[in-house]
Symmetry: C2
Amino acid sequence: MEQAIEDIRNTLGNEEMVSTDPEDLHRHGYSEWSTVNPDRLPVAVVYPRSTNDVSVIVRTCNEYSVPVIAYSGGTSLEGNFSAPHGGISIDFAFMDQIIKFNKDDMDIVVQPSVGWQDLNAKLAEMESGLFFPVDPGPTAKIGGMIGTNCSGTNAVRYGTMKDWIINLTVVLADGRIIKTKRRPRKSSAGYNLNGLFIGSEGTLGLVTEATLKLAAIPDEFSVAVVTFPSVRDAAAAAASVMQAAIPVACLELMDELQMRVINLSGSTAPRQWRELPTLFFKFSGTASSVADNIDRVRAITAKNNGGDFEFAKDAAEQKLLWSARKESLWSMLALRKENEDVWSTDVAVPFSRLADIIEITKKDLESLGLFATILGHVGDGNFHASIMYNKKDAAEYAKVEKCVKDMVKRALEMEGTCTGEHGVGWGKKSSLLLEVGPETLGVMKNIKQSLDPKWIMNPSKIMDVPGLEDEEKKLTRQDVVGSPAGPANMSTKK
Amino acid sequence: MEQAIEDIRNTLGNEEMVSTDPEDLHRHGYSEWSTVNPDRLPVAVVYPRSTNDVSVIVRTCNEYSVPVIAYSGGTSLEGNFSAPHGGISIDFAFMDQIIKFNKDDMDIVVQPSVGWQDLNAKLAEMESGLFFPVDPGPTAKIGGMIGTNCSGTNAVRYGTMKDWIINLTVVLADGRIIKTKRRPRKSSAGYNLNGLFIGSEGTLGLVTEATLKLAAIPDEFSVAVVTFPSVRDAAAAAASVMQAAIPVACLELMDELQMRVINLSGSTAPRQWRELPTLFFKFSGTASSVADNIDRVRAITAKNNGGDFEFAKDAAEQKLLWSARKESLWSMLALRKENEDVWSTDVAVPFSRLADIIEITKKDLESLGLFATILGHVGDGNFHASIMYNKKDAAEYAKVEKCVKDMVKRALEMEGTCTGEHGVGWGKKSSLLLEVGPETLGVMKNIKQSLDPKWIMNPSKIMDVPGLEDEEKKLTRQDVVGSPAGPANMSTKK
C-alpha cells in the first residue's frame, strides 16, 4: 500500500492531493451515523481533480491490488464507505462542479461532489424553472446518491436515483474510462449500464461525471396533515390514496412516538402536534389540480378514520405543516442523552403489508424496552426505524442489532427487501444474502468478478470477497465511539 | 445440434414440445417486419410449459454449445429473435398465464407470453381499476417487451419497461434458475439485476416469470390535436409543453406525409385531416386537471404557431381524434404496392435537437426519392421513420439502408442513441458500437462472458461473438421475401 501511495503521489505530481493525516483517515473510514464500523481505516485519502486523476489512482491501486473506496457526502448509514481492508479513500471534494447545463433538454452534467440541495439552489438562482427531485439526507452528494440508488420523500411521485440518470462517466477497476451512454432521455441500445452502476456502491467502478434529468417545478404546492387512531388506519388510508391514482408529491407517515419527539424537542415550537399516527401529504401541480387532490385526499382519509385534517392555505402554512416531517430526525437526535446514539435502518415491503410490519416492529421494540420512532415513505412501502440506544451498553447494542435483524427477516417474509434506500454496504450483507439467496448473489459476484477481477473496488461491500469470508468475520466492529476498547467489540469476544 | 434436440425431447418426455416443422422454423427465424434477416433458421422450436422445462432445455443446449433464442410475440424489428447461428428457438406460447394478481399491492405476476393488451383486457374485466401502461405494438408480449426495454406512446408519462418491473425469474445459460428480487416496489439491495436483464434481448438469460407494477386508471381522459406550419414549430411546442411540467399522458408528432397517408388510406374515413405536421395529445387525471391541462396546452401551442386546435369533449370524439395516431402504421402498410415493404426504424436525441434531425432526415429521404413518414414520441426525443421500398429492387434497398445508417449517425452526433425503443438485435450492432465505443461495448461483453461463457444465449445479438466477427460478416441477409435468390443477397456479392 505504501508503494501505491508513493506511486500515486509521484504520478499526480501534487503533494496536496494525497493525505495520510490521521484525522482525515478517521473521517473517511468511520461514521457516527453508520449502524456499523469495521476496525480498520483507509491508509490514505486522495483528492483527485479530474476523471484522469481518478483513472491514474485506480490504475495504480489495481497494479498493487490496493482497495479503492469512493467518498462524497459521507452520509451513508451502513458502513458503505468504510475501509475494512484498509486501502485508499478517494474523496471527490474537489470534483464539485456543474459541467454543463442543458436547459432546453432539461438535463445537467455534474461532478460527483455536487450536493443535491446546492444543485437545486443553483437551479433556483438561475431561474431555470427546473429542479432535481431526488431528496435523501440534506448533505448527500450526487456520487454517493448514485452509489446507493437513494431516494427520499419525493420518490412516491418521482422515483429513485436510477430514474434520473441519463449517462455516467465511470472509471473501471483497471483505470479504463467509459461513458455509459450519450445524452438521450430514452434508449434501448445495449445493456443498461446506468442501471447496473447505480446502486452498486462503488464496487464496479467510480462515477466521475453524471448527466441528470431535471424536472419542471410545478406551479403550485400545498401540504396536508391528518391524524389517525392507529398506524393501521393510516397505512390503509395511504394505500387507498395510491390506489385512487391521486398524484401526491409526497406521502409520509410518522408514528405517535415520532410526533411526541417533535413536541418534546420543541423543534417546531410553538406549534404542538397531536401525538397520534400522522400522514403528511405534499401536493403539487396547477392550482386547480392541487385543490382537487386535497379534496379527494380529505375524503379518502375521512373514510379511514382520519381526523384533524389540516391543509396549508399559503406558503407559510405549508412550511409550518411540513416542519414536523422536516425536523423528525433532528428532533430525535436532539433528545439523545450522554453516550446515546440513534440507529437508523430501513426496509420496504409490498404496501399491503406495511401496517403489519410496522405494528409487529413497534411491539417488538416496546417489549425490548427500546425507544424508537417510525417514519415511513408509505407510498413506496418503505419505512425507517430510528432506535435510541446507549452506545456504552453492550447488551443494549445487542438488543438493537437483534431487533433490526428480526425486522429485516419479517420484511423478507412479507416479500419485501432488507433496504429500500440506504443500500447494503458493510452492514447488511447477510441480510442481502438472506433476501436473494446464494444463486442470485452468485450472479452479482459473477458480474463483480468480470469487471473487477482483483476485487479492489470497495471490497467487502454488498458481498464478501470470495476466499476472505472468514477473515471478514474477524474484522470486528470498531467501538461506535471510536475507541477500540468499547463495548461494541463484543462481537469479537464471542 | 441433433443430439441436443434428441436429449431435450427425451428429458422433457413430451414429443409435442419439440417441433422441427419447416414452416415453424421459418416463422421463428424470419420476420417480414424486421429490417434484417440473417440466412439461417433455428433447427428446432421448443415449447416449454414451465420454468423447469426452460431450465432443462437451456442446460442441455449449454452442454452441447447450442444457441438458445427466446420467442414470444415475434413483433421485434431488428432481427432480435433471428437465428444467425441456427440453434433452438424457445417459444413461450404455452407460458401465457397470469400467475398471481396482488390487487392491493398494485402488481401482477405473469408468464412471458402474456400480451400487454390481453393483460389490460383482463384487468378491465376484473374491474380492478388498474392497467399496465407500457404500450408498444399491439401484439407484443411481456417477454419480448422485457427483452428490448420497449415503450410506446405512454412513455412520456409512465416511462419504459424498466420502470414497471418488480422482479424477474430468469433461467441462466447453465440452467440455473434465479429470482432477481422479492416483491418490494422500491429497493436498494444489491445490484439492480432487473435493470440488467431488461433490455438485454435474451443474451444474458431467459425471463420465465415477471412481477409487473400496475398503475391506477385515471378518472378522466381527453385528446387534443393541433396542426403546425412546420415540424420545427411542432417540436418547439412539444418542448414548451414538457418544460411547463404539464403532465400529458401522450405527446405524439406525425408529419405532413403521415397525415396524407391516413387520408389516402381512408382508414379514418369519413374524417379527413389537414396534411400538416400535427401534434396529438392525450390527457388524463381528474376532470378539472384534464380541463386545466387542455387550456394550458392550447395556450402554449398557439404561441408556437399551432392552429386548428381541437379537443375531444366525449369518449367518441377522443376515439376519433386519436384514430389517426392509432391507424398510422396500418395506413402506411395499406398503401404498399406489390413487392413493397416498410422499413421501420427509430432513433432518439435530446429533445432540443428533435426538429433538426427530423428536418435533415426528411430532406435526405426526399433527395433519395424515398417515400417515408415520420412519427415521433416527441416528449422523449424519440421518433420513427417508416420508409416504403421495393424489396425486389436491390438499389432501393441499399438506398434505404444507407439512409437509416446516416440517420443513426446524425442522432449520435446530436448526442442521441441509435434506438429509443426497438433494441439493437442483429440489425443495429454496428450502430451500437459507433454509439458507445469499443470500451463501453467491452464492458457489456465482459458481463455477457461472465454469465454466458459459451455465448449460447441469443448469440450475435447486441454484440458480435468474439472470434466469430468474420464469420458473422458472411452471414448474409436472407432475401426479404424468403427466397435465397432475392436481391437483398447483394451484400454477399460485394
